[in-house]
Symmetry: C2
Subunit: 513 residues, 2 copies
């Protein structure tokens, strides 16, 4: 989910340089509101020659560190504890196994060709560095539908528990707000604030914005709800003038759901790689070749005075690598469990890191949401129980698809205390609430609990004191830290990529100095 | 553009039956705000046997009539004057020729693989019948990006002529409206209308809706404008608190541009066939086989007492077909020019039909809008000159693409008096205004003027008295009329398809009776 630390973290000082190109172009007035330019490491070709670097953890933070280091000539090894690169950027398909930390295993048994992005699922168009790699690797991209006016909003407390379309909620909300402002405007309440001309213009604007009728009332519109679609011959459009009353909207409190499309990193246009998000880590891994070692869990990181010794096991044997630098790109939940030679402030920050437990519950089903509900992508929200429903954007109009019924933190609704079977029962209830009669169509669920998942034990870092964040953003001698937890773009590939590039920049500056 | 006749046409009576299935399912509460179910002809298999039908004009209105008639066993011939099926559902590619009525020819010379939908360019997800055929024909579909928060809005009268992002305009508009309402609310202006509890809830809602700060002021937000994107380490997000002043927004009058995404037939999710909209007419044509005759302009439609004689030329020779019924699915601008045996009311309505002159000006260019402006699909609007710019949704992230710079009625700005070269110069100016320095990147334009195009002479029908519309929706003896002009979904394939199905339904009912 969209998590920034603005508000509960404060920072001082700027590393500088990152946005120089961007700032210059903006200053020239050429780029109104462009995305961030792709970040890069400012170092000379070959500047890493003779420097040994070990990167631990092959999520995108570790992958990018190793990839850029290799390009600069570093002697780099990337160690991954699990069976695949990508970390939380993982796409589940038939035969794939979700392994929990307690040994529980779930095998995905979906029809061939179906897939679900189990972690990262969206690429915002303002994530310049992520899209930079998409371009560099020529990864086929399609639109990810984050907003669809046909998706549903439901709250047991209103409308007899029946869902409204997002279309109706959004447009009725604006309609009521416009009607109220129009009324107070004409009542003279703003005469001190607005010129007569602006007052008239604002009145006219609200007529269109609402839209309002000639008496200033909001009586629904074709934006919100259509009783009869227009057709051929005599069949005209009939608008449903039964709007959602303002007090119902206030009671339902749908605002968080109707405004999500305006969140800066959830705004259209969004993307996804065709066929699965893992195209991104796979593209890194392909270019890394033997630099990446899978099934190689690190057990210790020791400082040597000259650098580090990294100990890992592979194929039943213990191995040691002597290196000049180490970048730990593991989740802090995992770093916490290994024998790492950290100083007191880093050890303390790692111990205290409080990871969240976001999950996904994907089901295979025939695409009833498309055929019967006309929903193509986007999210439907319930105000209670497992929520939201996330409809697939890929392979639209095909027969079967994967429906995510539940994408939340498992602390909500007590899911953290439940077995997967109990979780599935709750997930089904939410589908049945929004799509009556269709719980029976759901098959082959898996519970992608990132909190329970082996080698993860959390989805992303939660609130954290600024001092602890600042410590983790600085190296501990030869040991550096990367991953979205070391960025202000938590829970996004962009944050992980930027933090990897930043870690390598710091190493590079040190090598040069 | 979105044209319905609500407001200037009034109709009485209902054909009935069309929405029966839909209504039943809605009554059961199963389908909140579903799209229209696909329309179909209610007739028995084989019921057309022995009945001869001639359909004139192979736009989608004619194609669907012939296709459904063939399925019911009619002996059907579909005559098309031009060289291809599809009518205004046409995709231009390298080597294709745009021929004007005056003989002027433009040959498209774009890089292979590039294309532009010259007429119909979008499929709304609420167009049930169009999507029904997409499903029936298994046409590969992708998302058409109609809304992108990164697109631009520009007006010479404000901001020194510099464009704003749609993101900033939309969110600043809502911010100012929320601030004003919040202020009057706390000032007591609505105390008679709202309970104390609702007043408090509304105040809280506006805090989020704006969003407003604790003092009730709108000071920008990350929804609207970000000065510095968040990054790794110390790099935090910095919001641009310089909002567009309310009086500037009122002066700019961007509202039509910022609200277009809420138009009922422009709301997300929208689609396009992969590779070009002509996949739809081509799928009909393939199934019609020899039923469809190209390069066969009709010169006369005569009533015979028993039916009709349709005269057409092909390969230099004149041919006659005796038939029981004829469906004219030509634009009324073309029907007007042939020798058709129409009664006075139909003749009068055909003569008076006032077609619009919507055009497109597509250019080949490197995708600077993606690489430098971060715009992926959607529309940018200028308040003067040629507008809007329409960015492609297909083949995102590829090197080159087709940018439509101008998609309006050619009566606007006097383009109807200009040569293509003059039009291209104006089009370039608009690109330069929004994307300084990039007019030079534009190559190989064509002026797709539907008003000037041979066999069309108009883009779609404009305002029309109800009486004339009603006449054209009823047959003239054995002659029936189809096309979007005989629907309330003007300018959309949906209207053409529904009108074709309706015409065949009327014939079918008569055959049965």
């Amino acid at each position: 989910m969209s998590v920034t630390r603005r508000g509960f973290l404060t920072r001082v000082g700027q590393l500088g340089g990152y946005s120089a190109t961007f700032a210059t172009m903006q200053a020239l007035g050429l780029l109104p509101m462009k995305a961030e330019e792709p970040a890069f490491v400012r170092a000379e070709q070959g500047s890493g020659k003779g420097v040994k670097l070990v990167v631990v953890g092959a999520g995108v933070g570790g992958l990018v560190t190793a990839y850029e280091a290799k390009k600069l000539g570093y002697d780099v090894t990337l160690l991954e504890a699990g069976t695949r690169p990508g970390g939380r950027v993982w796409t589940g398909r038939n035969g794939d196994v979700i392994e929990f930390e307690d040994g529980t295993k779930q095998t995905i048994e979906w029809t061939k060709g179906l897939y679900q992005n189990m972690g990262a699922g969206r690429l915002p168009s303002i994530h310049g560095t992520t899209l930079g790699y998409v371009r560099e690797f020529n990864i086929p991209i399609e639109v990810e539908v984050n907003t669809s006016r046909q998706t549903l909003l439901q709250n047991d407390r209103v409308n007899g528990g029946k869902a409204y379309t997002q279309r109706k909620v959004i447009n009725d909300t604006r309609g009521h707000v416009s009607e109220l402002l129009s009324k107070t405007l004409m009542g003279g309440a703003l005469d001190q604030d607005l010129t007569g001309e602006d007052k008239l213009k604002l009145y006219e604007m609200l007529q269109y914005y609402g839209p309002l009728d000639k008496t200033g009332k909001y009586k629904g519109s074709d934006r919100a709800d259509i009783k009869q679609y227009p057709g051929a011959g005599p069949k005209e459009m009939i608008v449903n003038e039964d709007t959602i009353p303002l007090d119902t909207l206030l009671k339902a409190n749908f605002l968080g759901y109707e405004m999500y499309e305006e969140a800066w990193d959830w705004q259209a246009t969004m993307f996804q790689p065709v066929g699965g998000m893992d195209a991104i880590p796979m593209a890194f891994a392909k270019r890394l070749g033997p630099v990446l070692k899978l099934n190689a869990p690190v057990t210790a990181i020791a400082k040597t005075g000259k650098g580090v010794t990294v100990t890992y096991t592979q194929g039943g044997a213990e191995h040691h690598i002597e290196a000049d630098y180490c970048v730990s790109a593991m989740p802090l939940t995992i770093l916490r469990k290994i024998k790492a030679d950290l100083d007191a402030p880093h050890r303390d920050a790692v111990e205290k890191a409080n990871y969240r437990g976001s999950y996904k519950i994907p089901w295979e089903a025939p695409r009833f949401w498309e055929k019967e509900y006309n929903i193509y992508g986007g999210l439907s929200f319930l105000s209670q129980g497992v929520s939201p429903l996330w409809y697939p954007s890929g392979n639209l109009f095909s027969e079967r698809g994967i429906l995510v019924a539940g994408y939340q933190d498992e602390s909500i609704g007590g899911l953290d205390k439940m077995t997967p079977e109990q979780v599935f029962a709750k997930s089904k209830l939410s589908v049945e609430r929004l799509h009556p009669g269709h719980a029976k169509d759901l098959e082959k669920p898996v519970f992608m609990s990132w909190r329970r998942a082996k080698w993860f034990e959390g989805s992303w870092i939660g609130a954290q004191p600024a001092a602890e964040y600042d410590v983790m953003c600085q190296p501990d001698g030869p040991i550096y830290f990367a991953g979205d937890a070391m960025s202000h773009v938590v829970g996004w590939q962009e944050g992980a990529l930027l933090s990897g590039i930043r870690a390598l920049q710091m190493i590079s500056d040190r090598v040069k100095g």
